[in-house]
């Protein structure tokens, strides 16, 4: 078990964000009736073991002008996918990079890289940079732009069940605010 019951309380209290104050971890500790040192120690441990990626800000791509968010998908040789995935992920405009299975013959692509640009021309240019990086390993690719958000809910730990479920937040469904999937 990577996280215990107290960790889960901290996760529940912070998964929606930290209080915006000079001493946010103390504010969380007060709310949970825990010592601030313990909250920080547990958060640091969760970061060390990868439960927390980092503590920081998530930009709203769309509000910052990144309106052409494309899911680029690539057919690369399986024996090179990890090596190439690491290289593509290291590009500063790729926000998610995964290996996924092909489902032949309908779906030949095994490498996914989410690319963000301010317009489609900019995104296409970035896709060309990936193609150049892959060289001959690029046996075919496509770029899928999101045209409509049909549902968008956060992944959350549910308080009553203490397990991860998808948690509906209707206000986010109403508008195409961000077109990046995950």
């Amino acid at each position: 078990m990577k996280v215990d019951a107290i960790d889960r309380r901290i996760i529940e209290a912070t998964q929606g964000g930290l209080p915006v104050t000079a001493r946010p971890f103390h504010a969380v500790a007060d709310r949970l009736d825990l010592a601030a040192d313990e909250v920080m120690r547990r958060l640091r441990r969760m970061q060390e073991i990868g439960v927390i990626r980092r503590v920081g800000a998530v930009p709203n791509h769309y509000a910052l002008g990144y309106r052409a968010n494309g899911m680029s998908v690539w057919d690369v040789p399986d024996e090179r996918v990890d090596e190439l995935g690491e290289k593509v992920g290291a590009l500063d405009f790729v926000s998610h990079c995964y290996c996924r299975p092909r489902i032949l013959p309908d779906w030949p692509y095994n490498l996914f890289a989410m690319v963000h640009g301010t317009d489609r021309a900019g995104t296409e240019e970035k896709v060309r940079q990936i193609a150049a990086l892959l060289g001959g390993a690029d046996r075919g690719h496509a770029v899928l732009y999101s045209t409509r958000i049909l549902k968008k809910t956060g992944l959350r730990i549910d308080k009553s069940q203490s397990q991860v479920i998808s948690h509906k937040s209707q206000e986010q469904c109403s508008a195409l605010r961000s077109s990046s999937g995950s």
Binding site: I11, T14, G16, L18, V20, A22, R23, F25, M40, L43, M46, Q47, V51, I52, R53, R54, V55, G56, A57, V58, P59, H61, A63, L64, Y66, M71, D82, G85, E86, V88, G89, A90, D92, V94, H96, Y98, C99, R100, D106, W107, H116, A142, L144, Y145, S146, R148, I149, L150, K151, K152, T153, G154, L155, I157, Q163, V164, I165, S166, K168, G181
Partner: protein, 147 residues
Amino acid sequence: MDALDRTLINRLQDGLPICERPFAGIAGELGLDEAAVVDRLRLLLDAGRLSRFGPLYNADAMGGAYTLVAMSVPEDDVDRVVPIINGHQEVAHNYQRSHAFNLWFVLAVESEERIDVVLRQIEARTGYRAYNLPKLNEYFVRARFKV
């Protein structure tokens, strides 16, 4: 948004230390006092330029199972199919995309076995195949949205 806001957005994406005064370092770098950094962060969140501030949790590490699913549905049948998919509470995100595979959704379930159960239900009720594309490997990314 001024130059300081932009610097702050760029800098806050890199992450802050977990310590008593996490903004102190950034305030020093930007030549602001801590209260000014906090105020600007609050304004950026209120204005929707930042969608959240806090720990970014890795869903994989918290238990449960996730997958990405693609479907190819004729345009004139999308409006019938989407409510069937979205009716499952395990469907977290669902996007329409510009491709023959035009529906893409993320399933978040308690256990691996549940993925097949939900996908078989969706296939039976929609009449279309659901292509299960789970993450096999994740590559480290360093994307920051420079503004």
